[in-house]
């Protein structure tokens, strides 16, 4: 069993709030991703779980026991760092073995465990090398092997893939998820990359400015965003957000007019519509100048300029139109999100 609870966690540096009012329960064997832009407090939250940082207030509970004040080395956590943090003077073998030595695991077990961990990350051939003689991907895998070698209570991964190129990142994503499923170890993963979050997580915690914005499964976060921040952060390209006025069920902003919205709501609102819920049509809600066209092969992204707003539309892969000409786009009214203009909270 490995259940972690964060109760009213705060972390302040002087007047600066690193993390505020974080309440979170991480379930046994769950893969939880902390997602947010840099400086949102996700890494600080993870470091507090690791014991590398103490919360200013609040309790961290592991399996029913408050672990505040317990040193990092006495919490059974294994962490993978962004910069890998391999010990430069040791070989890969010694790096992987280091936690076993430190945790006083009987030396007779070391060799078998190191080799098993190395095999799991496909690093068996490189055990005699020093970290300096490894490629970025290999270093990453060595760091991963060092974390899994002692089968800890919880894995903590702090942007482990951010230094890799796109292709390698995709491969490592699959590998990390496979290993986590196989070892069934509770995992907390920090990233600013929403694709990583969507693909890896059982649940995502979206954070901003030290506070949790929303907790949910990737589907919930994507299809049911709690506010404009979450809506705009998730998705690639992200949701289009347009501020305007809603009156009698009709939304209007510069160049945009949408009927059939709930007439019980009114006033200044922001509507949200995902690029894939827009279609290029002869008649629609928005007619505007074509600002950009990005064919990617399997889909074409069309960017329209409505006033000072850029609207992203996912169009058919064969769609082509000259820049500067006009295009008309229809929205799926059922898929339009409404947010309060002042608070950003979701209305519908």
């Amino acid at each position: 069993m490995a259940r972690i609870e964060l109760r009213n966690i705060q972390r302040k540096w002087g007047e600066f709030w690193g993390v505020r009012d974080v309440n979170l329960a991480i379930e046994d064997r769950e893969f939880l991703v902390l997602l947010g832009p840099s400086g949102c407090g996700k890494t600080t939250t993870m470091r507090m779980i690791a014991g590398l940082e103490e919360p200013t207030e609040g309790e961290i509970v592991m399996d029913g026991e408050v672990v505040n004040g317990v040193d990092a080395r006495d919490r059974d956590v294994a962490m993978v760092f962004q910069g890998y943090a391999l010990y430069p003077n040791m070989t890969v073998y010694e790096n992987i073995r280091f936690p076993l030595r430190m945790r006083r695991i009987p030396p007779s077990e070391h060799d078998a465990r190191v080799r098993r961990a190395a095999e799991m990350v496909e690093l068996s051939e490189f055990l005699d090398r020093k970290p300096a003689a490894l490629s970025g991907g290999q270093r990453q895998r060595a760091a991963l092997a060092r974390a899994i070698v002692r089968e800890p209570y919880v894995f903590l991964m702090d942007e482990p893939l951010s230094n890799l190129d796109a292709k390698l990142r995709q491969q490592m994503r699959v590998q990390i998820k496979y290993i986590q499923r196989k070892l069934q170890i509770t995992t907390v993963y920090v990233t600013h990359d929403q694709i990583e979050a969507m693909t890896l997580a059982d649940r995502i915690v979206v954070m901003k400015a030290g506070a949790i914005q929303q907790i949910g499964t990737p589907d919930q976060i994507y299809h049911d965003p709690a506010n404009t921040f979450v809506a705009g952060f998730i998705g690639s390209p992200p949701m289009n957000l347009v501020a305007g006025r809603l009156e009698g069920g009709t939304f209007s902003a510069e160049g945009i007019r949408v009927d059939g919205l709930p007439d019980r709501l009114g006033g200044d609102v922001v509507i949200g519509i995902r690029p894939e819920d827009c279609t290029v049509a002869d008649e629609g809600h928005l007619s505007a100048e074509v600002f950009g066209l990005e064919p990617t092969g399997d889909v074409t992204y069309l960017t329209l300029r409505a006033g000072d707003k850029l609207i992203e539309v996912k169009a058919d892969r064969s769609y082509r139109v000259p820049l500067g000409s006009g295009a008309t786009v229809a929205f799926d009214p059922a898929r339009i999100y409404l947010f309060d203009a002042a608070t950003g909270e979701r209305l519908r």
Binding site: G51, A72, R73, A78, M79, F81, A85, Y87, F98, M102
Partner: protein
């Protein structure tokens, strides 16, 4: 193409010429006192220029046979290595604390340590003399070790600290989550990572120690504690007058080991010197 290659060859020639002349300029005194050391006394004090010098081991025999030079050399070596050892034992934990822990007055303490270097030696000479006298350590190698260590401690601490600051914090965090104690982190992670810094600091400390004169003269009063640098003073007085060739030879002997060490580690040394200077 050909002209270009020629120009490149020319510029390289000029570069070597400039560097070579500079090297010669710097080495001239060394070569000069080597040549003095290897010639008979009569020839050295002759006012006429001598174009073909006569090599003589007169001074060489004299310093080894008439003077306990081996003993001076041993004293030097023991005092210097002992002092560097003391410095490292004290400076490594101090630098670790200064570079890694957060506590009140940390920077002030760091500056205080550095400020001990700014003191004029003459100011503390007398108190140090009395201190060692009451401790019964006058005229011993132990006293030299302690004095050299004290003189160099600030510099050694500061250099090692600057190397430690270069080690990513992540490395320590990793070791901590892997279950390592502070001591283990220092011994297994930090120290191996700053070996170049430790070597640099040690060599710089050695250079200062081998050249130290004032305190050695103060503490050493017999061959018990005479070192090479003070032994030089032996050849400047007495009925024989100034024994130039012996002075030159002893100075050269004191210079050679340091020179060799510096050549061997010069890459680390320049890095260490600039880091110690720039970072803080």
């Amino acid at each position: 193409m050909g002209a270009r290659r020629g120009a490149r060859g020319e510029s390289r020639l000029i570069r070597y010429l400039i560097l070579g002349s500079w090297a010669l300029f710097c080495l001239a005194p060394v070569l000069w006192f080597l040549s003095i050391g290897l010639r008979p006394r009569v020839e050295i004090i002759s006012p006429q220029p001598i174009y073909v010098p006569h090599l003589s081991l007169e001074a060489w025999h004299m310093i080894w046979e008439d003077w306990p030079m081996a003993r001076y050399l041993r004293n030097s070596v023991l005092a210097i290595f002992g002092s560097v050892l003391i410095d490292l034992v004290l400076a490594i934990p101090a630098a670790y604390s200064l570079s890694r822990y957060r506590y009140r007055g940390r920077d002030d303490i760091g500056f205080y340590i550095l400020s001990t270097r700014m003191m004029a030696p003459a100011i503390v000479a007398v108190p140090i003399f009395f201190l060692f006298r009451s401790a019964g350590l006058l005229d011993t190698i132990w006293a030299l070790m302690i004095v050299y260590a004290a003189i160099n401690l600030s510099l050694v601490t500061w250099i090692i600290r600057s190397y430690m600051l270069d080690i990513p914090k992540e490395l320590e965090d990793a070791a901590r989550t892997d279950g390592a104690s502070d001591m283990r982190i220092l011994v297994e992670i930090i120290i191996p990572a700053i070996i170049p810094g430790i070597i640099t600091a040690s060599v710089i400390a050695m250079i200062f120690a081998i050249n130290e004169f004032l305190f050695t003269l103060l503490i050493a009063s017999t061959p018990n504690a005479y070192t090479l640098s003070v032994a030089l003073a032996n050849f400047t007085g007495g009925s024989d007058g100034l024994i130039y060739n012996a002075i030159a030879l002893v100075a050269f002997l004191a210079f050679v080991p340091v020179f060799l060490v510096v050549v061997a580690i010069q890459r680390h040394l320049s890095r260490g010197l600039t880091m110690g200077a720039v970072k803080g």
